[in-house]
Symmetry: C2
Subunit: 189 residues, 2 copies
Amino acid sequence: MTRKEQKEMRQKQIMFKALELFVTKGYAETKISDIAEALGISVGLLFHYYESKEKLYMELVQMGVEGTKNSEKTTFDDPVAYFEKILDGLLSAAHETPWVCQMFALMAQAQRPGIPEEIRQLAMTVDQIRFSSVLIEQGQKLGTIREGDPMALSNAFWCCVQGLMEYHAAVPDMPLPETEWIVDIIRKK
Amino acid sequence: MTRKEQKEMRQKQIMFKALELFVTKGYAETKISDIAEALGISVGLLFHYYESKEKLYMELVQMGVEGTKNSEKTTFDDPVAYFEKILDGLLSAAHETPWVCQMFALMAQAQRPGIPEEIRQLAMTVDQIRFSSVLIEQGQKLGTIREGDPMALSNAFWCCVQGLMEYHAAVPDMPLPETEWIVDIIRKK
DNA sequence: ATACTCAATGAACAAAAATTCAATGAAATA
DNA sequence: TATTTCATTGAATTTTTGTTCATTGAGTAT
């Protein structure tokens, strides 16, 4: 293995473990030494790759922001299909690629008070709730989404998804719901 | 005001502010000095009333455990009514008595990794998910709750409620959902 | 073969947070 | 009134956590 490969491997290794720990334990609860210990490396090595805990966390959030921007914004005839697709993607990723769920949870956590302000601002640039309320309104006109304040509906949906992702990160063996159950929060019957 | 009254007042004051901050910022993110500052008292005074941050947190969790035990366990003809009643209580308490929602969120947070083990154990003695899955099964037999793994349904419901409560603690001005929307996660149509 | 680079370590150092404590003065008690 | 109690403070201390750094040794290039 070349030096460059080794370096990239370590960086990824650190990133993924940090993501896992930050999401399951929270930012302040996760010590740099926890991450190092979990990987079986020295604390010094971690600082060789990332100049500070805050930078490491920020890099993860940055990654999340990019990911959201790059995800194709397909348009659907029925907005309900959009919510179904996203949620289905999250739920099916849950086991094979846990980092997908973890990243989702991280983005939500990063917006909360207690997180360094700069990082919070960054995380807040991805605001699903405001974005989705437009889709909700469309669906209401179409008659596929139930009546009610679009913001409240959007908020309800995403808070629930977030609750599920966070819990799943902490307790991975808990059985996950069907996409349908959750989408029924907004669906009109 | 007598000394005793003053003491009780301070203790309550500290408890409520600590609850608020622990829930919005998280355990480790909340410094003892944050609590003191928010109340306009010295850090030393906080230690005069509570011997440590951990004890303070534990006392809150203890309070939550008591509260759950003392809440009347009314039985309903239809288990769906039980879920409706609980959720309705939480949602309507949201504005007048925020500590009700906060306590709910705290109990969930206290069960996560990163929290001192002793406290986690205590918080886990109140396990809504396991308790509710029995009710879910009853509802399924009655035909009022949709088919599916009772554990998964129970988990879905409570994770969603928790997601809502946590988000509400952090962003109190966000409009809350109708009870119906959330109960529809488990309801059979 | 020689010099250079860089992943990796562990101990030292700094910063932040938790905790202790002696001192103060206002209220309670004698 | 004299004495005790105790809420309160702010500064000192301890503990925890984050960060720096000199050193090592294995790989890489010249």
